[in-house]
Amino acid sequence: MSTPMKHSYESSTTDRVISMAQAIREALAEEMRRDPWVFIMGEDVAEAGTPFKVLKGLVEEFGPQRVIDTPISEAGFTGIAVGAAMTGMRPVVDIMFGDFLTLAMDQIVNQAAKVHYMSGGKWKVPMVIRATMGATLRKAAQHSQSLHAWFAHIPGLKVVIPSTPYDAKGLLKTAIRDDNPVLFFEHKAMYSMRGYVPAEEYTIPFGVADIKREGRDLTIVAIGRMVHVAIEAAQRLAELGIEAEVVDPRTLVPLDRKTLIESARKTGRVIILDEGHQSYGATAELASVITEGAFYYLDAPVIRLGAMDVPVPFSPPLEDLTVPTPERVVEAAKTLCGRV
């Protein structure tokens, strides 16, 4: 998971390798330099730069007026961001652990997501909510959830989950420039992951899936950190002569249905990986979209591998069972390809 990955957007002139945390920090810094109305608010974002140190250095450059430490008031400051966004600012809200989004659901779902529609298009809410996600960090049930499916279910919100530093930077810049509320999920275990990021400016459009690895035998659609699980599984499968294509939707809303369906039509076999709970989660939507679009091309039903339907346990051997692993993907792929 720590080998820097080349990807399809790599047209950079440099081979600059940086961490995901730095890529995110760069995106924020560049956008804050470009647009004076972009600001950051959240708990311990200033001097501390968040507990993950992702924002380290930003308050020094932009000052405490634009990198704002808030009280522990997720609903309150998310609501404040909505009002600020409506009146000319472009807030980037920091939700330390995605689990705390539960505290701001009214502000996100009843307010931010609906203001534009309810006002008949008169007010808009250009804001980004950055939140962490992901398990296997021994943080137990209230600090390990991946709740992105909830937001993807709500019209008016966009949902982004990057899997590489390159994508994180390009997508975050797009998110900040978007005129809608965007949920941007960052996997806690990926902040230190390194990858190529060009020195020159770029953005990545929403709604464009990225084929992280090409293959003809099998499609693995993977979200966020699961892309790396998929890549690792694909490498092992290649040794067995099975060439897996790894497709990263990058944005769940808008969703690049076309690329997903085309890959499925090509390979006829699909596995979907996600770190959200499997039931009633993102894997169900992706499986449905693919089945609807590629039904007559599929050799077998799409296999969904989401996180187990259990609260995330603390005990390491238990926690490690809850999230899809390369081993399990290889197993599933072998079954799908009739290799068992």
Partner: protein, 342 residues
């Protein structure tokens, strides 16, 4: 009957006379516009011409008018489920209000919001909100924005005393106080949260709550537009001058039910109580008699205003009744802003 929990600040009568008579007449007209508009809304409901329900503001007009009269057009407000009064007082026109209530295309929100969501950038109306305390974050955020952008706009956040039950109010008051934001929290205590007397669900004294967060707080007689206007003006100018947020408790009363369909109210309040407020504490009549007494107006002028307002209501209603519904493809528009942008 009316509980007022803080020091009662009463401007002297003579002070009221420093305000131009035309302005009092304007406030009188504004209150009457709300009254007549909403009487018509009730009529629309009773005659089954309006989809859904509406929460009438009648009885509370002095609050919206007194406060909004002290605001500039580019100042912001947020409102509630009981929002028609705030929207009209901030400058909304009746025709597009009616159209919105009927779900018609020329409505303020293209018919997509309805009674509880009137919003209008032109008059600084950030939107009525159907979630109790749902707009307190938005209002505080707009004040934050005004401060960051260096405008001298002020934001007024209207809510009922029921909103005091919602934790987010305390979260944002804390930040408004810390950051000295130009926001005025206007709490309209009309004694009931839906069908429950407020004392049954509210502990302690209302004004102690904002004060605990270091927010300047005062109470006024919400039926006396003169007092509301004077105190609001002071608090608003204070906020505009960078002196921070304030909390204004307006003690008031709604004459109708919680919504237009709430006809049998006997299980939560008495007919006598309702009658007392209407006969003794009607904000329009209180201002009217005072203006007559002070010779700011005579009966003829007040009658003329009423005629004009009735005509305005009639024309606006006709406009709305005749307006078309939105095109059906409107249903999928405005889910996202500026879809072409990237």
């Amino acid at each position: 009957m009316m509980s007022s929990s803080g020091p009662k600040i009463r401007a002297e009568r003579s002070v009221y006379l420093t305000v131009d008579g035309e302005q009092w007449l304007h406030m009188y007209r504004q209150m009457l516009r709300i009254r007549r508009f909403e009487e018509q809304v009730n009529e629309l409901y009773v005659s089954a011409k309006m989809p859904g329900l509406a929460h009438l503001y009648i009885g509370q007009e002095a609050v919206a008018v007194g406060v909004c009269e002290a605001l500039r057009r580019d100042d912001y407000i947020t409102s509630t489920h009981r929002g028609h009064g705030h929207c009209l007082a901030k400058g909304a026109s009746m025709d597009r209000m009616f159209a919105e209530l009927l779900g018609k295309a020329p409505g303020y929100n293209r018919g997509k919001g309805g009674s509880m969501h009137i919003a209008d950038p032109d008059t600084g109306n950030l939107g009525a909100n159907a979630i109790v305390a749902g707009a307190v974050g938005i209002a505080t955020g707009a004040a934050f924005s005004a401060k960051m952008r260096g405008t001298d706009q002020v934001v007024v956040c209207f809510f009922g005393e029921g909103a005091l039950g919602q934790g987010v109010l305390y979260e944002v008051m804390n930040m408004a106080s810390l950051w000295k934001l130009p926001v005025i929290y206007v709490c309209e205590n009309n004694l009931y949260t839906e069908y429950t007397p407020y004392q049954e669900v509210l502990a302690g004294e209302i004004l102690d709550r904002p004060r605990a967060f270091g927010i300047h707080a005062e109470a006024v007689d919400g039926q006396d537009v003169r007092e509301v206007y004077f105190v609001a003006q002071r608090l608003i100018e204070r906020a505009r001058a960078g002196e921070g947020p304030a909390f204004l408790l307006c003690n008031t009363y709604r004459y109708y039910g919680h919504h237009v369909g709430d006809i049998d109210r006997s299980y939560y309040r008495s007919r006598e109580e309702e009658e007392w407020w209407k006969s003794e504490r009607d904000p329009i009549r209180l201002l009217g008699s005072w203006m007559l007494q002070e010779r700011i107006a005579d009966e003829r002028i007040l009658e003329a205003i009423d005629r004009e307002v009735r005509a305005e209501v009639e024309a606006a209603l006709a406009f709305a009744l005749n307006a078309p519904y939105p095109d059906l493809d409107e249903v999928a528009r405005h889910v996202y802003a500026n879809e072409a942008q990237l």
